[in-house]
Amino acid sequence: MKRIFYVIPFLVVLILLASCQEKKTDIAQKKGLYEVTNQSSCVGCHTDKALLKQVAEPLEGGGGEAGEG
């Protein structure tokens, strides 16, 4: 039983250390390189397939096979 009391503080420290690790995007945001996402007309439109079908226009060539190399 005593062992559990010794182990618990170690576990807490490990969990804290793991949660403190920064993702690359976090670092980039801190440096002021990027702003975090917020809802805008970009997301509003580009996640709405029905709307995109109304406004997106087909490209010349269609985007099928190429194949030069």
Binding site: I27, S41, C42, A56, G63, A66, E68, G69
Partner: protein
């Protein structure tokens, strides 16, 4: 490769928005005006140059990607997929050392006809290549390993892709029995041999894909080391790999492959591509490619190929490089017409009795450009007639 529909090309998924890249504000990478109404009329304004819209941010990887991925972007800035330095250097060799980038008309012609083979980070990791009109491959989710079909062979399709997947089988003019590459049948994708390390480069500004760098150039013997075993019982390998006259592996293990006609500039050599199997002398031996004989394929270059560009640079040293070029067909089989001994009287009969068909000679050059072709390929001909 099924084309993406107009909406699918630009559709963004919730999976992306939940991913690390999805935490970044859209305009941080793409610019544009996010405050426009969701109408067709407002679309142009949202994506206008005036709003600093950037369709392909990774074209400027040093700006948009390097803050998190500098370990890759710093090297890739010098990689052949990005710089296309291989094209420029091959041109210079045939143009008396002149760089087409110094002539505005030549540079414009190159940008129109050749530059679509350039690749940025995004064309492998988020969209399809722009040579097939781009489009978000996985609804903007970034993926580490490019899709073989929708990224790699979207560009490298007509030769590598079709050979590797056996798609020539049944095509008009192609021998029956052309099979997919044995590695494809085992499930290997392009990235199994062509790793990210090779694609991103080592930071050195190379000017040719056949570099002499064993650090990232894939070789057959990386996996098939047994062919180098001096105690091997395979007499073919003893003679043709370990012997005095070394053969490129594909000479025995490749099937018929494609040579091309009709460059994209609509000038010079025209006509359809055609099946070939030609053995030439190795005109570019180095430590990694110390073979004496190699497979070669004809490329659609001619002295007047770039005349339509209207520039001042012409191919004055056209014959400084062969038009039958080092080939690495991706259609490997253990048993090929060269190795199959069924019904033969001795083990090398299938190949050695077909030298007239297999070996490159002056009779194989393009007769429309006879003199130039004969000079250009002199180092490659195995026989003089």
């Amino acid at each position: 490769m099924a084309p993406l529909g107009p909406a699918e090309r630009v559709l963004v998924s919730q999976e992306f928005l939940n991913s690390p890249h999805g935490q970044i504000k859209c305009t941080s990478c793409h610019g544009g005006n996010p405050n426009t109404p969701l109408t067709k009329d407002a679309k142009a304004e949202a994506h206008s140059p005036q709003a600093n819209f950037v369709a392909y941010p990774s074209e400027h990887a040093d700006v948009y990607c390097s803050s998190c991925h500098s370990d890759k972007t710093s090297k890739f800035a010098n990689a052949l997929h990005y710089t296309q330095e291989g094209y420029y250097k091959r041109f210079m060799i045939r143009a008396g050392g002149q760089d087409l980038r110094n002539d505005p008309k030549m540079a414009a012609g190159f940008n129109k006809d050749c530059a679509k083979c350039h690749a940025s980070c995004g064309q492998c990791h988020v969209i399809r290549p722009t040579s097939v009109n781009g489009g978000l491959e996985k609804a903007h989710v970034f993926y580490e390993t490019p899709s073989m079909v929708n990224n790699c062979t979207a560009c490298h399709g007509s030769r590598v892709g079709e050979e590797y997947r056996g798609l020539h089988a049944g095509e008009e003019g192609w021998p029956e029995g052309i099979k997919a590459d044995v590695h494809y049948n085992k499930g290997y994708q392009c990235s199994f041999c062509h790793t990210g390390h090779e694609m991103h480069g080592d930071g050195t500004k190379y000017d040719y894909r056949y570099v002499d760098n064993s650090d990232f150039v894939p070789q057959c013997v990386d996996c098939h080391q047994d062919v180098l075993d001096p105690n091997t019982e395979n007499q073919y390998h003893k003679k043709h790999v370990q012997g005095d006259k070394k053969l490129e592996c594909q000479i025995c293990h490749s099937q018929t492959y494609k040579s091309c006609n009709s460059c994209h500039v609509q000038k010079g050599i025209t006509g359809h591509s055609y099946p070939t199997f030609k053995i030439g002398k190795n005109y570019m031996k180095n430590d990694l490619r110390n073979f004496d004989y190699i497979l070669v394929r004809h490329i659609p270059i001619a002295p007047d190929t770039y005349d339509n560009w209207g520039g001042s640079i012409s191919l004055t040293t056209f014959d400084a490089a062969p038009t039958w070029k080092y080939a690495t067909p991706h259609n490997i089989q253990l048993w090929t017409p060269q190795t199959d001994t069924t019904g033969t009287s001795w083990c090398g009969e299938s190949c050695h009795s077909n030298f007239d068909k297999y070996l490159l000679t002056p009779a194989d050059v393009d007769s429309n450009y006879l003199d130039a072709e004969l000079k250009a390929n002199a180092p490659v001909f195995v026989k003089d007639n």
